[in-house]
């Protein structure tokens, strides 16, 4: 399906990542946003507050992020595409109901414009230190999709991808921006609506009495949804449940339910993961990075190549699910992985896990507040081949 032209601001713009993200969401068909202000993500909500009344959208500023997250799940079940947006402390508050969205298999998008933490941390400065929170932040076992854009253009393009993946897999998608990408202004090309591909929600159309909101036996065919108000009399709960949505408190029910939540993402890793690879073929060292760090890393890679070092680049556009298979393959080929991230070691743990025994992994840590000095990444590359 193509985007509805009413929401698409076709043309060349100079936008920061936050504004571009808002435009991307509108283009993707998002018409419900519940949020609570927090630096450095507020501009997303502000732009939506201005634009929604002119495109038939519903914006509401809630009393906190617990409420924002709960509201977008409720709204999603009426058939509208929904999003909320926040940063660090608000992301922490969203974790409770993120679990509910996972359990109710509800499509929705959560934008986190990352800033330094823990706690209030660095409200105005960048970090990538919520990556493991994105992976594991709500209690219990589950799998999630997280996307990390590295430019305002990608904030536009990839938030559309986020909505599409969320509809395709009936899972909340985390859009993991960071302050740097959110506040940098660059050219953003917004295409014509008919060049924007949209994944529409899949609706059930059969016998009303036979509808079941879940299917735990087939992880690649996600159950179509229905809308509240259409007479299906659905029941959804955060409790462990069976396929008709009714709670069952037993180890068996738990196994079926939770395995399904994990399998539908894990078993479809290759369909979901989006990676960008460059100069991989002859590479002896591969720099694995995501978000803003991937742009900083490019300079280091370029300089290393100038010095004759065989360095390649792997960018995680989706960070979760982690591209295990690809990393395991590459681990056999290279002498080392170098992982720069704006935290003291998060995604690197996954790289290590997937490459253990095959190759070494070197972290280039940074506690946040600014981006890396490319020389630090270069030094790590040189160290691996020395």
């Amino acid at each position: 399906m193509k985007a509805d032209p009413i929401g698409v601001a076709t043309g060349s713009h100079y936008l920061d990542g936050d504004h571009a993200c808002a435009e991307g969401a509108i283009a993707a068909g998002c018409r419900f946003l519940a949020g609570y202000p927090i630096t450095p993500s507020t501009e997303v909500a502000e732009r939506i507050a201005e634009r929604f009344p002119k495109v038939g959208g519903m914006f509401i500023q809630m009393e906190d992020e617990l409420a924002s997250m709960a509201a977008i799940i409720g709204a999603a079940w009426t058939g509208v595409k929904t999003m909320t947006v926040t940063s660090g402390p608000g992301f922490s508050l969203m974790m409770e109901n993120l679990g509910l969205a996972v359990m109710m298999e509800t499509p929705c998008v959560i934008v986190n414009v990352q800033r330094g933490g823990p706690s209030t941390g660095l409200p105005t400065l960048t970090a990538q230190a919520d990556m493991m929170q994105a992976r594991w932040g709500s209690h219990g076992d589950y799998e999630i999709i997280a996307i990390s854009p590295n430019s305002p253009q990608e904030c536009f393009d990839l938030v559309i991808t986020a909505f599409n993946l969320s509809e395709r897999w009936r899972v909340p998608v985390l859009f993991m921006m960071d302050e740097c990408v959110g506040h940098m202004t660059e050219k953003v090309e917004i295409p014509e609506a008919d060049r924007i591909e949209i994944t529409p929600r899949k609706y059930y159309k059969g016998d009303k009495k036979k509808y079941k909101p879940f299917n735990f036996n087939d992880s690649s065919n996600i159950t179509p949804m229905v809308k509240a108000g259409d007479g299906y009399f659905i029941h959804l709960t955060g409790l462990t449940h069976v396929e008709n949505g009714y709670p069952v408190i037993s180890a068996e029910a738990q196994d079926k339910n939770v395995r399904h939540l994990v399998d539908k993402i894990k078993k479809n890793e290759e369909k979901i993961c989006i990676l960008e690879e460059d100069q991989i073929n002859d590479a002896e060292v591969i720099v694995i990075s995501y978000g803003i760090s991937s742009r900083v890393a490019l300079k280091a890679v370029h300089e290393a190549r100038e010095k004759g070092l065989k360095v390649g680049v792997l960018r995680l556009i989706t960070v979760w699910p982690f591209p295990e298979k690809r990393i395991r393959q590459l681990a056999k080929q290279v002498k080392a992985f170098v992982v720069p991230e704006l935290n003291l070691g998060q995604v690197v743990l996954e790289v290590e896990r997937c490459s253990s025994g095959q190759t070494k992994t070197i972290l280039v840590p940074h506690a946040g507040g600014s981006v890396h000095n490319p020389n630090d990444i270069l030094a790590a590359i040189e160290e691996t081949v020395a």
Binding site: A34, M62, G74, A76, E96, Y203, G231, V242
Partner: protein
């Protein structure tokens, strides 16, 4: 019937009625989920009955009414009612319902949940939904304690009453919920006990038909925990207590309806006034400000 108790089945819809033993409210109940989890003589079941009676009386289209609960004994209500029904997280029934009500403005969304759920952990959502005059009907089952977790004290536990986390008696001041609701902006406020089934049902039907934030508090016995710990007797004894001590005062000033431990309980319809809902205010305001540039939110496309 000598049939063994069936395990919870995986079928959503009830079999055709077999005989006259079929539940008279079968169209509104998820009978296949019965028996319910509540203790005998608990007041929650009575509130469900009153809700269904009130809903029928309101003549609202069943398809267009949804019910949302949080977590607690009272929070299990949504699980037994055959409407679109959502059992959410502790305290978050109101914001979840806000999403439903705004997402599809044709829906009437009712919330049935406990005193702890709605006014302790969910207290912030409660006052803000009332302030916005969100189109929601809140039915708060007040059993003066956190029952589901074993009878702890909560924001409605009366001074001096005993609870598992107030083993020497409660020394915190409780909320008076009608006062909280009215001062936060509710347009309809009533209080009944689970003895007042017909009056409660009437209030529920009025509340469901009232646009905006309507609030009904139902004082309800928890014989297993609150009553036992305070040696107040059985559920029946509590019903007798309500019978002897509830005083109907329609239009009472909500600042004067505090509940004191085992003293008289003022009940009635306290507030019924008109004010534009969040949705109406938004539409009118934005139409005025933006003129033809305003495109009202229409809700979901028909499929």
């Amino acid at each position: 019937m000598s049939k063994e108790k069936q395990p919870l089945t995986d079928t959503l819809h009830i079999p055709e009625p077999e005989d006259e033993l079929t539940h008279p409210m079968k169209d509104y109940l998820r009978s296949e989920r019965l028996p319910h989890i509540w203790c005998s003589t608990c007041g929650i079941g009575t509130v469900i009955t009153a809700f269904i009676t009130g809903l029928e009386k309101s003549k609202l289209e069943k398809e267009k009414v949804a019910v949302v609960s949080g977590i607690g004994c009272s929070g299990r209500a949504a699980g037994y009612i055959r409407l679109d029904s959502f059992h959410t997280t502790h305290g978050r029934a109101i914001p979840f319902a806000t999403g439903l009500a705004l997402g599809n403005p044709e829906l009437k969304v009712a919330i049935i949940s406990g005193d702890g759920d709605l006014t302790a952990i969910g207290g912030n959502h409660f006052i803000h939904a009332a302030r916005r005059n969100m189109n929601l009907t809140i039915i708060c089952i007040n059993n003066f304690n956190y029952a589901m977790t074993g009878g702890q004290a909560g924001p409605t536990t009366p001074l001096k009453a005993n609870a598992s986390t107030a083993p020497y008696g409660c020394y915190e001041y409780p909320f008076s919920l009608p006062f909280l609701a009215e001062s936060s902006g509710a347009v309809f406020v009533a209080r009944w006990t689970s003895l007042h089934v017909r009056r409660l049902a009437k209030s529920i039907s009025e509340a469901l038909l009232k646009p905006g934030f309507s609030f009904i508090e139902v004082i309800s016995p928890c014989p297993t925990l609150y009553a036992r710990r305070n040696r107040l007797g059985t559920g029946l004894d509590l019903m007798k207590f309500y019978h002897d001590n509830a005083v109907i005062k329609h239009g009472a000033d909500t600042s004067q309806v505090d509940i004191k431990y085992q003293e008289s309980i003022i009940v009635g319809k306290f507030v019924d006034k008109d004010k534009p809902t969040f949705f109406e205010s938004r539409n009118n305001f934005l139409k005025d400000r933006l003129g033809n540039h305003f495109i009202p939110y229409k809700g979901p496309e028909k499929i």
